[in-house]
Amino acid sequence: MKKFRFALLCLLVLLALVLPIFFRSNPYNLILLTTILLYGVLATAWNIIGGMGGQLDLAAGAYLGLGAFTTGTLLIRFNLTPWIGIFIGGLVAVLFAVLVGLPLFRFKVKEVWYALSSAALVEVLRIAFIMWEKVGGPVERYLPSYGSPLYMRFGSYIPYYYIMLTLLLAALFINFWISRSKLGYYLIALGDDEDAAAVLGVGVRSSKLKALMIYAFIVGVTGGVYACLYGFIHPNFFSSPLSTEVAILGIVGGMGITYGPLIGAILLVSIRELLRANLGGQLESLYLVIYSTVLILIVLFRPRGITTLLQDGFNKLFSRWVRKNHAE
């Protein structure tokens, strides 16, 4: 079974690597794939604080925007290449994450306050950056082009696809590695029972903070790439709808399962893009209606996520196949 899984994984990665070749002539599909990968990274990173850490984080947009603005501003003002800038963006995101998380992860403070603060953080940063004319302001700030790969600017979408794919693989790997590590065990334990975990040596606050910092860093770095992808920065990057979407993807996909949120991203983002293609901008909010309905249904009836449905189905098929082939 394990060998089969590993082989499947390699196959998928290989497929992902060669996919862009099929879409060379159709940039729209490439953009769609890159967008799916983007949400895949965000949702997979979210899993660290949400699925494993047990916190309903609604601040993905905050860290994305911080990463974007840091990278963009460093490029605009100091000509610093985004290849370095994105990591500084990640660090800035971590700084803000700690500012919010430190007081709120104190022993016995209810999780809901973190959820509320994170939701508010996004909005506030958005307003703050609209008001901060020097760095932000209500108009897009375009990143100087230079047309050079050295500055993470490319002629086509293909390189961005590969960058996103790299980020996704990194996020998946980090997820996987954490789940097998002390931090992973500690996070699941305190998710099940904080008191019992604490008396067994689990530092509740430090574990949650570590998860938050890792998540914020990944999202911040992604934000930097995001800015280069779009070619500009704008305070609307601090997006509440995006933050909520990321959380929905994580929950619907399957919290705690490494590739769960990715599946959620693939499913739901495809639906959104399909709607957008067929119904146009008029009914944009429709996808949110669908997202929230799916979220509610999943939470009520299958809280462990869609991926568990797929896993169960897969296991059934697999055992049937095994029985067939071994019965003779």
Binding site: A115, A120, V124, L295
Partner: protein, 286 residues
């Protein structure tokens, strides 16, 4: 100086309404530990219903609570039984998640139905204003504030004198003891959720007499009520009023002296400051 008093007056009056909105939130939170993320959007919803009733049925906005209060009460109970009840046994994340889903749903529906255009009603029975010294007070704001205070007092009496009200308090204070004494927790939870939601209808209706509504109001009222709740803590109704007024005044001062866009910024800064310094709230009993 005059400007200052004007701002404070407006802020204080708005603050009373914020306190009323937060009362609903606090009721639900105190009883079942669930913060309804969709609470602010319920205010928005009742404002839109008031708008609809005003435009098409000729109702005065201030009278709409007569219909929207029982309506939202039933809706709240329906939400409780269909959504909240099932998740109570699950992890906390999923409990909050379902209200986030509800919030997203309501906001998206509002966006679809009414687009981003703000809607308002042209006039109301209680429109107009009057002067106290150099300060102009809008009658609608004053009456809205007074109604809010009145409702808060009525709810306080309800909680301390009636059997249902005391059941609610008992369940918030000590779940185990109250269930031992035969308090039906499901019914009490549903009642609290229904009542908490219905209170937003009053606020929404009153707000519609002088404000406009758009789909982003949900977020704004949500944040305002969380801030007031954080400031108050649990268990203190007079604290709610004081916190509401503080937040209202802070918001008004920010808009007047700093930047109109800064209103939410200041509210959030208060929110985060309270959570940093005193997560239990400044006025809470516990």
């Amino acid at each position: 100086m005059d400007a200052l008093i004007q701002l404070l007056a407006n802020g204080a009056l708005m603050g009373c309404i914020y306190a009323l909105i937060t009362l609903g939130l606090s009721l639900i939170f105190g009883v079942m530990n669930v913060v309804n993320f969709a609470h602010g959007d319920l205010v928005m919803l009742s404002m839109y219903i008031a708008f609809w009733m005003g435009s098409y049925l000729g109702f005065d906005a201030s009278l709409t609570p007569l219909i929207t209060f029982p309506l939202l009460f039933i809706v709240g109970i329906a939400f409780y039984y269909s959504l909240i009840d099932r998740t109570l046994r699950q992890k906390y994340v999923t409990q909050i998640a379902v209200t986030v889903g509800l919030m997203t749903f309501l906001r998206a529906i509002a966006q679809l139905a009414w687009k981003a255009q703000p809607r308002s009603l042209p006039y109301s029975l209680i429109s107009g204003n009057f002067q106290i010294g150099s300060v102009t007070i809008m009658t609608s704001r004053l009456i809205s504030a007074l109604v809010s205070i009145l409702v808060i007092v009525v709810v306080a009496i309800f909680l301390s004198k009636t059997w249902a009200g005391r059941a609610i308090r008992a369940v918030s204070d000590d779940f185990d003891a109250s269930s031992l004494m035969g308090v039906n927790y499901k019914g009490t939870y549903a009642l609290a959720f229904g009542l908490g939601s219905a209170l937003t209808a009053i606020a929404g209706g009153m707000l519609m007499t002088f404000q406009q509504v758009d789909p982003t109001m949900g977020l704004r009222f949500g944040l305002l009520s969380w801030c007031v709740l954080a400031l108050t803590g649990l268990g203190s109704i007079s604290g709610l009023l004081i916190s509401g007024i503080i937040v209202g005044c802070a918001e008004a001062l920010a808009m007047g002296f700093w930047d109109p866009r800064a209103r939410m910024l200041v509210v959030y800064m208060i929110f985060i400051l309270v959570l940093w310094l005193r997560p239990r709230g400044v006025f809470g009993r516990k």
